[in-house]
Amino acid sequence: MAGKPDTLLFETLMEDLSLHVLDIAENATRAGARNVLIEIAAADARLTVAVKDDGKGMDARTSQRASDPFYTTKEGKRVGLGLAMLAQSARETGGGVRIDSQYGVGTEVAAVFRPEHPDMRPLGDLMATMKALVAAFPAVRFVLDYTKEGEHYHFDSAKTP
């Protein structure tokens, strides 16, 4: 887990994890992804939230700086807070964020949370997040894999009965 000091530079504005997921998936669609896989898995006192996409990816420099709150590649904007806030939310619980990106191939953002920590945010309304994504981007394939205590939910927007 990326080792920046635990200083509180700003407050995370996302109330729950499902809002973080929407924000991170929005990055993926903006990067031109055709496939976005959202994996949420709870096991061994950890909750992992991963978003994988096949968008344009980031070069080494960009992915290194991506979770810096003052970094964005958007024009006319000075701060890019999405990844930084996710990292902050995860760190608040004793977890962290890992960003794996390959230019021209895609990106994986994985956040690990410690759900037992008092600062853990609730999961929130994951279905509302999926609904917003699916409605807004019908041409993108969204897959949700959710696993918790033996319960498993799978949704694939390309395989609707």
């Binding site: 504005l13 996302m14 109330e15 809002l19 929407l22 924000d23 929005e26 669609t29 903006r30 958007k74 006319g76 904007k77 890019g80 807070l81 999405g82 806030m85 279905m127 509302a128 997040t129 999926m130 609904k131 917003a132 994504l133 699916v134 409605a135 807004a136 981007f137 019908p138 041409a139 319960e151 939910y153 949704f155 927007s157 609707t160 009965p161």
Partner: protein, 129 residues
């Protein structure tokens, strides 16, 4: 288990939306009568843009408005006035609405998108008033 049933129902709900939205993909090639863009950058999401989006998608589904598209765009650079939507009706200049809630967005859908009258009270002043 009860929670399982709830989640299953919601997955079906998602599938219904996915199926429906795929049918309107062809509208994206410029055929849609109206397009509503919900600004869904980080600030918009933190300010409640998802609830605005959900309300619009559900209303469009319920009323079967097959020629109205809802989509997402990124931050519009006016983070203090999120949530924001932009209404773009064919052959008319787009109108941006600020400080939206689900209820206000539904009012914009009804009055502006369907009724043709701009809701001035929520619109961002275009001419620097």
């Amino acid at each position: 288990m009860r929670s399982t049933n709830i989640a299953k129902l919601k997955i079906e709900d998602l599938e219904k939306i996915a199926r429906r939205m795929k049918k309107v993909i062809h509208l994206r090639e410029g055929e849609a009568k109206a397009k509503i863009i919900v600004h869904m950058g980080t600030c918009g999401i933190a300010a409640g843009a998802r609830a605005v989006m959900t309300a619009l998608v559900e209303a469009i589904e319920k009323q079967d408005l097959s020629d109205v598209l809802v989509t997402i765009s990124s931050c519009a650079g006016l983070c203090g006035q999120e949530p924001m939507i932009t209404v773009a009706i064919q052959d008319q200049p787009p109108v941006r609405y600020v400080n939206m809630t689900a209820a206000k967005a539904l009012e914009v859908l009804e009055k502006h998108v369907l009724g043709g009258r701009i809701v001035e009270a929520y619109a961002l002043a275009a001419n620097n008033k």
